[in-house]
Symmetry: C2
Subunit: 430 residues, 2 copies
């Protein structure tokens, strides 16, 4: 028997509901900010247990979401993202336990110094306050984002995709039981309880100052809308047009390994390479083997005339290809006149996300790392390392390409701000 | 002979001029980001020299601004802020030399760690990009802000008060000569060349993505407008409703010294105390002497009934007094029931700027520093230490109470962001 979703759609006043969520979040933010690490970790472990215990309820709610999405003719890929199964529920629970085991960022002293007058100044991490997360119909984001916000002492307001509302509601109910069990307020993690789209607009406006930062998780359209309309800071990346530049001083074996991994390990992640730049001076040795390797691996190659000349399977690249994030087994390849031209290409067409150089030339490596203005720049490593887990952050809520506050993988440390604590012995200012 | 200001007002298309400023700033941002520290410091010292060499020109331009402001009936305080004299020009020049002597933040490695797979990850400071500064008719801000932006590798777009346009123009011309002498582009520091107020609106909109952060410097109206309308991040504080809480375990001598300094050293700075909270348990010893001291020092005291009872000169405080930033020799005084009530008062009425506790009780000090959610919290020290110079930052462009990126004094380090540099030896992601 299907839960009649209409019952939670009856809300005649979405504005009142949303503004209530904002006030509730702000009201508990202080409790969360001051909660002892142990209590937060107890809550996280209890949340994981509650998810496992509720597996049946979760699967039932999810089955209803899936049935509705199927009936609405959603794509197989969409259904796959929406689908929960016992293994995925276990993965969610384990993900929360990973977050519980991370170092607590709140209260960490990141800098400390003393002044000639004897004042001791400390810079200490404190939570941001209230984090709003807007995502699509991937129920697991509900658990991931809620756990990361709690660990970093923030209240969370979650707005998941409409098609996953029943699933998300069941997950948030389980998380709430975990919070309650540890003596923390259930309103620490709140779900927007309506499919009404005006709710998103209210979150973008910041819920009367009750959202401190927004994190959109999902496709380009969602992120673009949030970036364009949000009146509060946003941690996000619109796209990852990532480059691998193979310098003339690269070894072919390393270049092949890195290019293949950067492009083909997983083509749908934001750190996947989309453009290969080959130094003209090394092209006679590097270009044909790299292109053939990619083609043989099932990757479509769109190249400039020089690249087309080394393999008949290469398609011609257009101007658009240099700025396209394929997120697929397609790569654009261009021969460039050395490192300066490579950097100029990346600055012109890239998205300031993640870019790599392959070279044995130390000076060129340093130049690339210094001059490419991206959140992550790598020397002799795959762009697919653009990931909070790979950085050692344990988990991430996303990757940011904005310049302010958070940049690169956004883990629990990046979900905090700081304050200055000054210890005196009666100092007054002259 | 007066320079006909109309000549720079003829601009029929302010939008075109402003968008040109934005493009020019973005175009040089990369050069500035990559400029060697030595070259920037040469430019700064040359800028200081140029200001001194141009003293006569500056004074003449300023005299015209002042004459016009006088004719327009501006207040004496306004004229004083606008006025340049040889000593103030020398102070500006020395201020730039202080900035030249600071450590260069760009390229500093603030964190570095290695991963089990051998990757070495560094977090490195890089400039923000383009900083827009909107300020009132204080010509010296032109030099201060320009110098801080250059030191931190950022391009600056300056919009000073209309009444100081001639003065600011003369200052920017001198700064430009200094930049040129060191081989840096003069467009590193640009002045909005028009009094047209629509220019400010365009800056608030971010000049087509060509301003990365805005810093308003001036009165509450200006800051409030920038905070309300800006579509880009803002580093600012709207007001400093700063508190001193005198705990029962405070020594009277220290409490007197800190309260007097926090309130009366300079009443017009944002770190000046506006409210004194006295622990009821210590009030019999502390309240009367503190209140008498303030009154004797020429400070008006507005108190709750208990405070009124200790001295007939105390005026009654209204609800509004608890949230007022007087910026004057006036203080609100309240007796509170211990540290929890003090913290609750500060969280309710304060502006999250700077707050201090005076106590010999270590546990209470720690509690206050932990629980008061302000950019700066102090134990046994005056709130007037809320200042970049006093923090050891050398100079500041302002104080921020926002939670994102910069908080507290904003010095050259806070005018940078970061990127991750990853050093590999051929690592690919499994």
């Amino acid at each position: 028997m299907s839960v009649p979703l209409k019952s939670i759609e009856r809300t005649t006043d979405v504005a009142a509901v949303m503004s209530g969520l904002g006030r509730s979040a702000r009201a508990v933010a202080r409790t969360l900010a001051l909660a002892p690490p142990k209590q937060k970790d107890q809550a996280l472990r209890a949340m994981a247990r509650a998810l496992r215990a509720d597996a049946e309820t979760l699967l039932k709610a999810n089955a209803e979401d899936v049935a509705e999405a199927r009936a609405a003719g959603m794509s197989a890929a969409f259904i796959d993202r929406l689908l929960l199964d016992p293994a995925r529920i276990e993965t969610m629970a384990q993900g929360i336990e990973v977050v519980a085991a991370l170092n607590d960022p709140v209260g960490q002293i990141t800098e400390s110094w003393s002044r000639p007058n004897g004042l001791i100044i400390e810079r200490v991490r404190v939570p941001l306050g209230v984090v709003g997360i807007i995502y699509e119909s991937r129920p697991n984001v509900t658990a991931d984002a809620g756990a990361l916000c709690l660990k970093s002492g923030n209240a969370a307001i979650l707005r998941g995709g409409s098609d996953s509302l029943r699933s998300s509601r069941a997950i948030v109910a389980a998380l709430g039981r975990g919070l309650h069990e540890a003596g923390l307020p259930e309103t620490a993690i709140q779900l927007v309880p309506t499919r009404d789209r005006t709710a998103v607009g209210m979150m973008l406006a910041g819920l009367d100052g009750n959202i401190d930062v927004l994190v959109p998780r999902g496709g380009k359209d969602l992120v673009a809308r949030v970036q364009a309309e949000a009146r509060v800071p946003v941690f996000a990346h619109l796209e990852g047009v990532c480059h691998v530049y193979v310098d003339k001083a690269a070894t072919l074996d390393m270049a092949k390994a890195i290019v293949l991994n950067a492009k083909m390990r997983r083509t749908g992640v934001c750190g996947a390479a989309e453009t290969l730049l080959v130094d003209r001076a090394g092209a006679p040795r590097h270009l044909q083997p790299l292109v053939a390797m990619l083609l043989d691996a099932g990757c479509e190659v769109r190249g400039d005339p020089e690249t087309q000349s080394v393999d008949s399977r290469v398609q011609p690249a257009t101007e658009d290809d240099w700025k396209t994030e394929y997120l697929d087994a397609v790569i654009a390849v261009k021969v460039v006149d050395g490192i300066d031209a490579a950097i100029a290409h990346i600055e012109r067409y890239g998205s300031h996300h993640t870019d790599a150089i392959v070279t044995e030339d130390k000076a060129n490596a340093e130049k690339f790392l210094r001059e490419v203005d991206s959140a992550i720049v790598l020397h002799n490593a795959s762009t697919q390392f653009a990931d909070g887990g790979e950085f050692g952050f344990g988990a991430e809520i996303g990757i940011a390409t904005g310049r302010l506050h958070a940049r690169g993988p956004v883990g629990v440390d990046q979900l905090t701000t700081f304050k200055y604590r000054v210890h005196g012995t009666g100092q007054i200012r002259p």
